[in-house]
Symmetry: C2
Subunit: 352 residues, 2 copies
């Protein structure tokens, strides 16, 4: 079982500056590195307070690499549809070099309508763009004089620099939530799955279904994994007792869900047959800010004993081999994040 | 007078890996930071060995910021024509936050035909794209709910995140070589000039002419500078004696010019009325690898006394207030770079 921290800034811009956020998460990353945590993961978003402080996970990971020695750096996710393959492939191999081969690359299709609109990318093209750009990057990392002619980009005789540090390229993961096509594609191409659970337990049947699609489709291939890999991202908060954990985490988690809901609300005015079920999220989202975290949520919150039990159950239920814990939700400061992560390292890990 | 180091990887891929290059230039940057050097600058290029190891100066600078406390981080240049303004503006403000307000932004129009071709950007549009993207970024840093409708990008009600750390935004510079329109535009908008001299002294008359255009046009404005600023980038090599300096630097400089020539050779098959004179560079370039560095070059190479004299002359001749020394040319390793920079700090600076 492997363990990581998963970062997604959700700070309110008038309450917590990006300089404060980055100072704190870099300190937490140094702590995680010294504590033997396996991964630090960072996401890519634009414009909204849901992740918008980090338009470039690769850039954050370059800073994280510069202050650590062992922890692996993971994008989760970077979004190929919003980049030219020559630029993204080179940016990835640059950070692979800066980190001396410590990079894992999580790729996502993107899902927020306002990001597609602002960047001028048709949301209905997200899947072919994701697939074409990912395939093109794989060729740029492993071939010379590559020629492409696609509806989205074209070039002749391109040889990407710098060469990747890891061979044949950094391990690849695909972020996916619920679209069956995504899980099948990830399995067919041999990528790892970077899974986000639906926030309510009643929806997790979808997750089990799509994970099985992935396992059935899995073929070792371009992704760089010999066997299926399931990494789960979900919020974590550990305190001495369950009550103490819920008292501290509940307002933070509600705040996170409020920020998420504002982002997801852009589905209220968007429909795309490429995102089945997503247009319900706006309606869903308005209620989620009021739901009872303790009874219905999928966040992992509690005492070390409770958290260890939940982890073993999640491993059993979904075959999760890697836990990527969201530790910065609700605009937490360093003291909160570090107290929870220290308990995880000192008192949860020994129980697993 | 201010002083910086200016980085542009020109390593041969089969001779020096990107991991080695970055390990060395990060060590040099830490040395420069401790020695009180004002700036570290990094460039953006693609595909060729001329700079292609660094597709993202912002990402390198994030790593540099994570290992330093005082030195200012400078892009030189990042290339607006190759980015969407929402992505580049956000990436810049992210690094401004990561460095706690230590970022300077040098912007360039780009000039290598093979980069435009591979990225699908028409080279004849480089000026309007540069100007439109730069103007759009200025609005994104200083306004909310920005709407743009241009031939190159369009969006409605965009509010950029994260907010910039410096107010109103990081100081801006424009990289320019010889196009009069570029120097006039930089002056009219109040940006600093990031100047590269032609490699042969006989061509420097062009530089004096365009610098005067810039000074005459200068109006304090969007760029964030109260008065004209002239930063010069040129190769530097200091050793105990002139002879020792030339013996060490000449093969390195020849190697740099060879890599540069291969890049510039892509002008042999390209003409653009937007780049007057550039189509001569291919022909020029073939000869430059054989020219006599000592007699005709504009690189600053010599003993501490010789170098100090050249610096005072350059200040006099062009009104240079900031020297951004190319210290990594020819695939130098850390020992060479650091020996030269140490002499600069210990024995050149006290003479100025």
């Amino acid at each position: 079982m492997r363990h990581g921290i998963s970062l997604l800034p959700d700070c309110r811009r008038d309450r917590r500056s990006a300089a404060d956020y980055y100072r704190d998460v870099l300190a937490l990353t140094r702590f995680a590195d010294r504590a033997g945590i396996d991964y630090v993961k960072m996401t890519e978003h634009y414009l909204g307070e849901y992740g918008g402080y980090c338009p470039s996970p690769l850039t954050f990971l370059a800073a994280a690499a510069a202050q650590t020695t062992d922890i692996r750096l993971m994008t989760g996710a970077t979004l190929p549809a919003f980049h030219h393959p020559i630029q993204l492939a080179a940016h990835i191999s640059m950070v692979d070099a800066l980190s001396e081969g410590r990079l894992d690359v999580g790729l996502g299709r993107a899902w927020l309508p306002y990001e597609f609109e602002a960047l001028g990318v048709p949301i209905d093209e997200s899947r072919p763009r994701f697939e074409a750009t990912t395939r093109a990057m794989l060729r740029l990392w492993t071939e010379e004089n590559v020629t492409e002619d696609t509806p989205f980009f074209s070039y002749r005789d391109a040889t990407s620099l710098p060469p990747v540090t890891q061979s044949p390229h950094p391990p690849l993961w695909g972020a996916a939530v619920r679209s069956p096509e995504s899980f099948t594609w990830l399995g067919e191409h041999g990528l790892g799955v970077m899974l986000a659970l639906a926030p309510l337990k009643k929806d997790v049947g979808v997750s089990r279904y799509v994970i099985n699609l992935y396992r059935d489709a899995f073929t070792p291939g371009d992704g760089g994994h010999a066997a299926p890999r399931i990494a789960l991202s979900t919020p974590l908060y550990v305190a001495r007792t369950d009550d103490e954990a819920y008292r501290a985490a509940e307002p933070l988690y509600r705040e996170y869900m409020a920020v998420w809901s504002e982002a997801a609300a852009s589905w209220k005015t968007t429909t795309s047959d490429q995102y089945a079920g997503y247009d319900q999220m706006g309606a869903h989202a308005r209620h989620l800010t009021d739901f009872d975290v303790r009874r219905h949520g999928t966040a992992v919150i509690g005492s070390p004993g409770t958290v260890a039990e939940r982890i073993l159950a999640l491993r059993e239920e979904y075959g999760v081999d890697t836990f990527l814990w969201q530790v910065d939700f609700g605009g937490q400061n360093l003291d909160q994040m570090q107290a929870s992560l220290r308990l995880y390292v000192d008192e949860v890990l020994p129980r697993l």
